[in-house]
Symmetry: C2
Subunit: 229 residues, 2 copies
C-alpha cells in the first residue's frame, strides 16, 4: 500500500470501523473466532477498546461478506460452514478464475505471464525450504493475482467474498502437508496454457486445480449439514 521509498511511513488514519473490521475479519478467516461463536457487542467493544457504534458498522460489512450472521434483536454469530457452503464456495471460485483467465488470455500481455512465473518461482523456493505457511501465502497470492490481472474491478470485489471464506475454510482444517513442491508444480501447466493462449486447456486445468482443492477439504469435513434430528 505505502510507497516504498518514503522517509516517513504514513500514519494510519483510517476510521476506527475500518480497523475494527480488519481485525475481526482477520480473526474470523484465521479461525481464531470459531463458527457459531456469538459476538457480543459489549464484550467485543470493551475488548477492542472502542464503543459499540464502529463495531456495529463493521458487523454490517462482515454480515454482507457472509462471514457472520446477524439476527435482529438476537445478536451476531460467526457464520457456520456447511458442506454445501464449501461446495458453493469452490464452484463459484472456479467460475471466477475461469473468467479471469479468459480475460488474461484475451489481453495477451506478456508481462502478466511474467508476473505469474515470478510468483511460481517464489512458491517453489518456499516449498523447497519446507515453509508451509509461505507456500500457502504465495498460493493465495497466485490466485489473487489471476483475478487482479483480469482488470475487472467488479470481479475483484466479488472475488473477495469468495477468497475470504476459502481462507477461513483452510484455516479451520488441519492442512495436511502433502508434498509441498507438488503443490507448487501444479501451477506450471496453468501458466503455460495462459502463455500459449490455449483457453480450453486453461479452463480445464484451473477447474481440475480447484476441484482437487475442494475435494481435499470436503472429504475431511466432519460437521454434518443438519445436526438437528
Amino acid at each position: 500500500m505505502s510507497s516504498k521509498a518514503a522517509p516517513l511511513s504514513q500514519i494510519d488514519n483510517k476510521p476506527l470501523r475500518a480497523r475494527v473490521l480488519d481485525s475481526l475479519r482477520e480473526a474470523i478467516v484465521a479461525g481464531d473466532l470459531k463458527p457459531g461463536q456469538p459476538l457480543l457487542e459489549n464484550e467485543l467493544a470493551a475488548q477492542l477498546g472502542v464503543s459499540r457504534a464502529p463495531l456495529r458498522e463493521a458487523f454490517q460489512i462482515l454480515s454482507h461478506e457472509g462471514l457472520v450472521e446477524t439476527v435482529a434483536y438476537r445478536g451476531t454469530v460467526v457464520r457456520k460452514l456447511t458442506k454445501q457452503d464449501i461446495e458453493e464456495l469452490y464452484s463459484l471460485r472456479c467460475v471466477f478464475e475461469q473468467f479471469a483467465i479468459r480475460r488474461i488470455i484475451a489481453a495477451n500481455n506478456p508481462l502478466d505471464v511474467a508476473l505469474l512465473r515470478e510468483l511460481f518461482d517464489a512458491m517453489l523456493l518456499a516449498a523447497e525450504s519446507g515453509d508451509l505457511k509461505q507456500v500457502n501465502l504465495i498460493d493465495r497470492q497466485f490466485h489473487d493475482t489471476l483475478i487482479e490481472l483480469s482488470r475487472h474491478q467488479l470481479l475483484h470485489q466479488a472475488w473477495s467474498m469468495v477468497t475470504l471464506r476459502v481462507r477461513q475454510v483452510m484455516a479451520l482444517r488441519n492442512r495436511r502437508n502433502s508434498v509441498l513442491t507438488q503443490i507448487a508444480y501444479n501451477h506450471v501447466p496453468i501458466i503455460e496454457a495462459i502463455e500459449a493462449g490455449d483457453e480450453a486447456r486453461a479452463m480445464f486445468l484451473i477447474q481440475e486445480h480447484v476441484v482437487s482443492a475442494r475435494d481435499l477439504i470436503v472429504e475431511m469435513w466432519d460437521n454434518g449439514d443438519e445436526p438437528t434430528p
Copy 2:
C-alpha cells in the same frame, strides 16, 4: 417475499436500518437519487425521520453493494456509473447467468422449465397489452429466476450486487420501447435450449442476450469516463 395465502399480513418488525436500507436502495436503483449526488447524513436522517446511526449502518451495506461510495471524513455519494462499470457489470452478469443455466441443465428438473415458461407467458401477455413497465418487471424476474433455480446461495448473493446496478443503469436511461413482443420472444430459444439440455447452445444464447442488452445501453451512454481534464 410474503406468503400469498396469509390471512393477516405480517407486521413489519424489521429494524430501522433495514427499512432505511430498502428505502435508499430503491431510490438509487430507481434513479431518484442520481449518481454523484452527495448523501448528507443530517439531511437524510431528518428527511427519513430517523437518527444518523441506522442511516450510517445502511450506508455500510450500500457501499459494499457498490451503490454508493464513502470517503472517510468526506462523506457518501451515489456511485457514478462509467462506461467501464457497465461493461464489467454486463460481462459478469453473463458469467453468472451462464453458470446458473449450466446448473439448471445439470439438475434437469422439468418443473424448472415449466416455471420459466410461465414467466415467458406472462411477459408475452404484458407485451401484447403494451405494458412496458410490466414487461421490464417480468424480464427482471425471468433472469432472477434463472439464478434462483440454480439453487446456489452464494451465486444468488453475488447476483444481487450485479442486478441492483443493472436496474440502476436501466432506470437512468430512457428506455426505448423497441418492439415489446420481440423482447419477450427473445427468451424462447433460451428456454428451449435449457429444456433440451443443450448446454453449448444455451451458453451462446444467453451471451447473445446479455451482450445485446449491454450494447443497447453502452452506445447511448453519454457521460464520459474521465470528465476531469
